[in-house]
């Protein structure tokens, strides 16, 4: 179980890696504070800049960004009633009234402590699950891998908000886009759109990811105008409030445990993230709690919100590292980072690159600690970042994305791909298409094809291989069950109604 830990720890103890973790956590914090941005956009923008780093440093850096944005989002939610990320939406309900009562420091301390503890629970579950999922990953051959990708795509299309059919269609588009270029399995240059050179390696993954996530968000921000809310800013208060907040968090152990468990479960489910766990955990607490201050600045409510959204990314990492099926958009970017640094995504990460798994674990842990401690100390200044005008923020994001997209291969056309992907992503988002199935299809399409062709080679062309291997059959039944469930549920509901 502990293979790879020493590699991860010795990398972690390098001063440059520690520096990158701190920088990554600060980037995540700032992105979290800025409404409209979050860990996904921060990771997308930062991804190309990891190109010159060694593999472990880059993964530490990205994991730290991933872990730190959620707490960053809570700072403006508490201080100026504007959630920095969707995962802090419910935090405003309890955090801002506390701040208005003159208990801003207390609320920030509760948020930091609950975030830290929630994050630790999520990461703890991830660590405990490693031996089991590693054993499971050993059972995966080509047919199982193919069925797993299929199950992942259909589950995500089902889980995301929106039309299931549209979700599946957009994941199909993602898969098709991933097939452009030279196919390593068959040695054929395909779907080149007339390009004789540029598309040989397919659509450049980093340019596509940064465009779809980063540039589309920049367009959205540019359309929106000013970033910050206009709620009145509140005074922070003294150190006594901070200490009280830290102690307060431990007064509600049941709320904390329940909310963290909700966070982890929501995280494991593909396609849903902190925005859902934050609201679900808060709603559960609001129903159960006897606190008369619920909805008006309750400590218990705030503990529920903050522990759940930070526990989520530990859960998110489980399907991502175990099977290569990202549990959230941030994890999809992390997979892009793994790919960029030569770690092929899929069930074999646990099998062949266990040190990467531990790097992600320690990176998330370090990011959580740095962001919660640093965020608490810097809260006063972080909240002021929301006052940065969009007019300066948008060109800064655009420039970072375009230079980053170019720098990976030093190819001008990658910059054009990033822009086209950004426009494509903007329109998809605008018209109700979820980006997650598209990206997962794009990241896993080539893996799925390779597994499919390899399976056919093993079985000498017979599709029966997918149904004669027990695990593959089980996964296939999962695909069928997931596909049939909505129809079944509607029929049952119709029957009950009649």
């Amino acid at each position: 179980m502990f293979d790879g830990i020493s590699v991860a720890i010795s990398a972690l103890l390098q001063p440059d890696v520690l520096a990158f973790i701190i920088v990554g956590s600060l980037i995540g914090l700032v992105a979290g504070v800025l409404p409209g941005l979050g860990n996904v956009q921060a990771m997308a923008v930062a991804l190309p800049f990891t190109f010159g780093m060694d593999r472990l440093t880059a993964i530490y850096f990205l994991s730290a960004i991933c872990a730190s944005a959620t707490y960053g989002g809570s700072v403006p939610a508490i201080l100026i009633n504007v959630p920095g990320t969707p995962a802090s939406a419910a935090t405003t309900i309890e955090g801002y009234p506390m701040a208005k009562r003159g208990e801003a420091n207390r609320a920030l301390a509760i948020s930091a402590t609950a975030s830290l503890m929630g994050g630790l629970v999520g990461i703890g579950v991830l660590v405990v699950s490693i031996p089991f999922v590693r054993w499971l990953a050993l059972l995966f051959g080509p047919p199982e891998t193919f069925m797993l990708v299929l199950l992942g795509l259909i589950t995500i299309a089902y889980a995301i908000q929106g039309n299931i059919i549209r979700g599946l269609a957009i994941s199909g588009i993602g898969i098709l886009l991933s097939l452009i270029g030279y196919a390593s399995v068959t040695g054929v240059y395909r779907f080149s759109f007339g390009s004789k050179n540029y598309l040989w390696d397919g659509i450049e993954q980093v340019a596509f990811l940064t465009g779809v996530f980063g540039l589309s968000e920049a367009i959205q921000l540019g359309m929106k105008g000013r970033v910050a809310g206009d709620a009145e800013e509140v005074a922070l208060g003294g150190f006594r409030g901070t200490w009280q907040g830290i102690v307060d968090t431990f007064r509600y152990p049941l709320t904390f445990i329940r909310s963290s468990v909700v966070g982890v479960i929501v995280g494991i489910a593909p396609g849903v993230g902190g925005s859902v766990s934050n609201v679900v955990a808060y709603a559960m607490t609001a129903q159960i709690s006897k606190d008369p201050l619920i909805g008006k600045g309750s400590v218990e409510g705030l503990v529920a919100c903050e522990s759940s959204n930070n526990a989520t990314y530990g859960g998110d990492a489980i399907p991502t590292l175990a099977f290569g099926i990202p549990g959230s958009l941030a994890m999809a970017i992390l997979l892009g980072g793994l790919n960029l640094h030569g770690v092929p995504v899929g069930p074999w990460v646990m099998r062949e690159h266990i040190e990467i798994v531990w790097v992600v674990v320690f990176g998330l842990l370090a990011g959580t600690i740095v962001s919660c401690v640093g965020g608490l100390l810097l809260a006063r200044w972080l909240a002021r970042i929301t006052l940065v005008p969009t007019g300066l923020l948008v060109p800064a994001i655009v420039v970072l994305i375009l230079t980053g997209a170019y720098a990976i291969r030093q190819n001008f056309w990658d910059l054009v791909v990033a822009i086209l992907s950004g426009i494509f992503g903007y329109f998809l988002n605008r018209h109700g298409f979820s980006l997650l199935p598209l990206i997962i299809g794009f990241l896993l399409g080539a893996v799925a094809e390779q597994a499919f062709i390899q399976s056919l080679h093993i079985s000498e062309g017979s599709l029966s291989i997918f149904f004669t291997h027990p695990l593959s059959l089980l996964l296939f039944l999962g695909v069928v069950a997931t596909g049939v469930y909505p129809v079944f549920r509607r029929l049952v509901a119709k029957g009950v109604a009649q």
Binding site: F51, G162, K196, M223, V394, V399, N411, F412, V487, R490
Partner: protein, 169 residues
């Protein structure tokens, strides 16, 4: 709402065209090279057609209006999309800025385009002060040159007007 539906239809038609390209282009390759893309392309095209028909004639396929987790509600546009008012002119300007940025890099490279882009966008679109725009533009110029050219030893594109060639497509 009507406008949104129209936009969604256009998106679906474009995606359908893309899926069909993969199907028809795929038919020209050998068995192993075409089997997967053609199968995925056909399934995707069928799903898109299904979605399109359900959008245009909801009575025909009421079940496709099933939302996530079996909900019967037709999904609304994203909360973000609802919050941000849609302005075609604003969108055209945003896209034009991006394309102008790419054109600028192509012609005169990153060194010139980056500060000009930040300065121009900040002043014209963001109405930020000259000083703020200048400071950000200079900081980013230093960052681009310092980080990429000196730290990472990456030669940033200088532009075709300064003698660099565009790579072959």
């Amino acid at each position: 709402m009507k406008k949104l539906l129209d936009g969604r239809s256009i998106m679906l038609v474009l995606l359908l065209g893309l899926a069909l390209y993969f199907v028809f282009a795929g038919l020209g390759y050998g068995r192993n090279s075409r089997i997967f893309p053609v199968a995925i392309g056909i399934v995707t095209a069928v799903l898109i057609i299904f979605d399109l028909v359900s959008l245009w004639v909801p009575r025909l396929f009421p079940r496709t209006e099933v939302g996530a987790r079996g909900s019967r509600r037709a999904e609304a546009p994203s909360a973000e999309a609802q919050r941000v008012g849609y302005s075609g002119a604003r969108l055209v300007r945003m896209v034009s800025w991006l394309l102008a940025g790419a054109l600028g890099v192509g012609l005169v490279g990153f060194g010139v385009t980056v500060p000009v882009f930040i300065l121009g966008f900040g002043r014209i679109e963001g109405r930020a002060s000259w000083v703020a725009c200048l400071v950000v533009a200079v900081l980013f110029f230093i960052f681009i040159v310092g980080y990429f050219e000196f730290t990472m030893r990456i030669r940033m594109f200088r532009g075709i007007l300064f003698g660099d060639l565009l790579p072959l497509l």
